[in-house]
């Protein structure tokens, strides 16, 4: 429907096909390690404990969004509302904790609630409005951004109250809490996707919507759940980002290493997921997220211009999509 001009199967010898697929599947590991080594020599301060912890925290934040995003992609829904959800959740967190003065757990619960509400809103537009997720969430993202602007009055809300930032810097066995949270997200995600009926339904809906529908999979509910999960992880990330920066974050301009749906989409595609749902392995996303974070961090430390970082980001997405399409045509 949305303009595919060239979908023919690639004719390759079987041997060559297997070699290429192997390269696509495992190339990301090699490239990440090479990039890491390169930055040790090229980027000043890259290989310092302080910076590596920083990279780890940044990667964990992007990783949390990506975990939920993966679920949406698997269900065949390309969610473009991440930025809107992040904005609403960060403003909610800052407002409730600083201005209203709620307790930390209550703030977190309500901010997550805002994320769930945003996901449900997406679900209503996609399912009841029968609109392709990509476009529907593009529209809801605009609404969500406006709501966050309305709530915050267009101002950055600084958090002076103690007790929020500390949470991100708590370390357990020397590893920051956000990394633990990310791991938990992935474990929950992995169990849900591989061990539960819901997971099977998500794969089925993404792989072949019609077949799933005809075999009695509650496709509409599956799509709603997938969109809520995607929004929920975005909200969780927003809380952590807000806490780390001690202020409500601006999610307008997307810079490398920051969290938004372009990063998440790139990571998911680099992880071997199909743009059209149904296939993919969640653990490879982690490496892809790490790769993108290291790339952004290293370039920034090398004092590369913002413009160049953005261009690199754009081409990373281009590259990831081309890989994804190639894979689809080869299998």
């Amino acid at each position: 429907m949305l303009g595919f001009l060239n979908q023919g199967e690639l004719s390759l010898s079987r041997r060559r096909r297997e070699q290429l697929l192997f390269l696509m599947d495992n190339g990301i590991y090699v490239v990440t390690i090479l990039l890491f080594i390169a930055f040790i020599f090229l980027a000043p301060y890259f290989f310092t404990t302080r910076n590596l912890v920083n990279v780890l925290i940044s990667a964990s934040l992007a990783g949390i969004v990506t975990a939920g995003y993966t679920v949406a992609i698997l269900a065949g829904q390309i969610d473009t509302s991440t930025q809107g959800v992040l904005a609403v959740a960060t403003v909610t967190t800052a407002l409730l904790f600083e201005e209203v003065g709620l307790s930390l757990p209550l703030t977190v619960i309500l901010a997550l609630g805002a994320g769930i509400a945003a996901g449900l809103f997406n679900g209503v537009i996609v399912v009841n409005g029968r609109i392709v997720a990509f476009v529907a969430t593009l529209a809801t993202s605009g609404v969500l951004l406006a709501i966050s602007l309305f709530l915050s009055g267009g101002q950055t809300i600084t958090i002076a109250r103690e007790g929020l930032q500390e949470v991100v810097f708590i370390r357990l066995f020397g590893i920051p809490s956000s990394v633990w949270i990310m791991f938990m997200c992935y474990i929950v995600g992995w169990v849900m996707l591989t061990q539960t009926k819901l997971g099977a339904h998500i794969y089925a809906t993404g792989a072949d919507y019609r077949a799933a529908l005809l075999s009695g999979v509650p496709v509409n509910r599956v799509i709603r759940v997938a969109l809520v999960i995607s929004a929920l992880t975005a909200a969780l990330t927003a809380i952590l980002v807000t806490a780390r920066a001690k202020q409500s974050a601006m999610f307008g301009l997307a810079i490398a290493g920051s969290v938004d749906f372009v990063t998440a989409l790139t990571a998911v595609l680099l992880g071997g997921f199909s743009l059209f749902g149904g296939v993919g392995r969640i653990e490879r996303n982690l490496v892809a997220v790490l790769f993108l974070t290291i790339l952004g961090n290293g370039l920034q430390l090398m004092d590369v211009a913002t413009g160049v970082i953005l261009i690199v980001r754009g081409f990373a997405l281009v590259f990831a999509v081309i890989l994804s399409v190639l894979r689809a045509r080869m299998t």
């Binding site: 001009l5 029968r130 309305f150």
Partner: protein, 338 residues
């Protein structure tokens, strides 16, 4: 007796069907003409809410001025949409072009023609990149999204390289005068917009190329089987769209006296086109109607400004307009396939 019941049932079933037909016709009529009704209602509403501020020639001029560059883009955007491609890079390409132009024309002080030529070359390159990706089998919305990120990056890179504070001031004549140039007391962008629409209408309705654009958007497989070169059409359409978007970006920058990455006011193309009944999936829509869609949105912007509605609320209203536009498209698709 039994047969009576039978005929009754058949009769009521038939009236039910007639009723459904009628309801479908009414909905169809509203979908086809609702935009005009909504536009008139909007005008009346603003006129009633702010009679002395809204009903003035200056307001009309402001609405048209706002619509000018956006309308030029919308004309080519509509054609792109009908061909089955969704271009999401408009704002970034417009911004990138205006920055490129401003850097060469304002900062380097090169001649106008050279600055324009360089900008055109850059936008052509961007259009070619989008079409190349689409040719590789990547859906247009993802391709143009990525190209949008790249274009935004090029825009920022120009700012970085020229060491400017987030934007480039654009005050060198004659551009300033061109953007505000008037023919018979009318800003020249307004006739330019109508010319763009006239060309767009002729291309779509009176040329082979236009017929092929509709066919490609409506059924790519059928178009290919009948010897229509999809790749070539997509390439031409996307390149022209990128170039025109770039030119409009320069016009807007000239009016605002500054070039910035990401042009505001071009992002409404999709909303306006969907309001006007162009299908998101391509293949159908009338270009002349999208002009009304644009005027509707411009009037909304100006009217809300006159009523002193705060910026976040205005943004919210614009966001909701987009949501409504895609819902309308969805309803239209469902009616068409029923």
């Amino acid at each position: 007796m039994a047969s009576d019941v039978g005929t009754n049932r058949v009769g009521s079933a038939m009236t039910g069907q007639v009723g459904r037909e009628r309801r479908k016709r009414i909905v169809q009529f509203l979908l086809d003409n609702g935009l005009f009704i909504a536009f008139v209602l909007e005008l009346i509403l603003f006129a009633v809410a702010a009679p002395d501020l809204f009903i003035r020639s200056r307001t009309l001029e402001a609405i048209l001025r706002l619509s000018g560059p956006a309308g030029i883009v919308l004309a080519s955007y509509t054609i792109t949409l009908i061909s089955g491609q969704i271009d999401l890079s408009t704002a970034q390409v417009g911004g990138m072009a205006s920055l490129m132009f401003a850097a060469v024309f304002q900062l380097l002080a090169w001649p106008l023609g050279v600055a324009l030529a360089l900008t055109v070359v850059l936008t052509i390159a961007v259009g070619l990149l989008s079409s190349y990706l689409i040719q590789q089998g990547i859906p247009s919305f993802v391709s143009t999204l990525a190209v949008g990120v790249v274009s935004g990056g090029i825009g920022y890179l120009i700012i970085n390289l020229t060491k400017q504070p987030g934007m480039i001031r654009l005050v060198r004549p004659p551009l300033r005068d061109i953007a505000n140039f008037e023919v018979f007391n009318v800003p020249f962008v307004i006739p330019l917009m109508f010319i763009a629409y006239a060309i767009g209408w002729v291309v779509l309705n009176q040329t082979r190329f236009g017929a092929h654009i509709y066919a490609l958007g409506g059924n790519p497989a059928a178009a290919a089987l009948n010897g229509i070169n999809a790749v070539r059409i997509a390439r031409i359409v996307l390149v022209i769209n990128a170039v025109i978007t770039g030119m409009a970006g320069i016009l807007i920058a000239g009016r605002q006296l500054a070039a910035q990455p990401g042009v505001e006011g071009l992002g409404q193309s999709l909303t306006a086109a969907l309001f006007a009944g162009v299908a998101l999936s391509g293949g159908s829509g009338k270009i002349e109607r999208t002009l009304i869609g644009l005027l509707f949105l411009s009037t909304l912007t100006i009217g809300l400004g006159i009523l002193n509605v705060s910026a976040p609320v205005r943004q919210l209203i614009n966001g909701l307009a987009f949501v409504i536009a895609i819902l309308l498209d969805s309803i239209r698709q469902q009616l068409a396939t029923r």
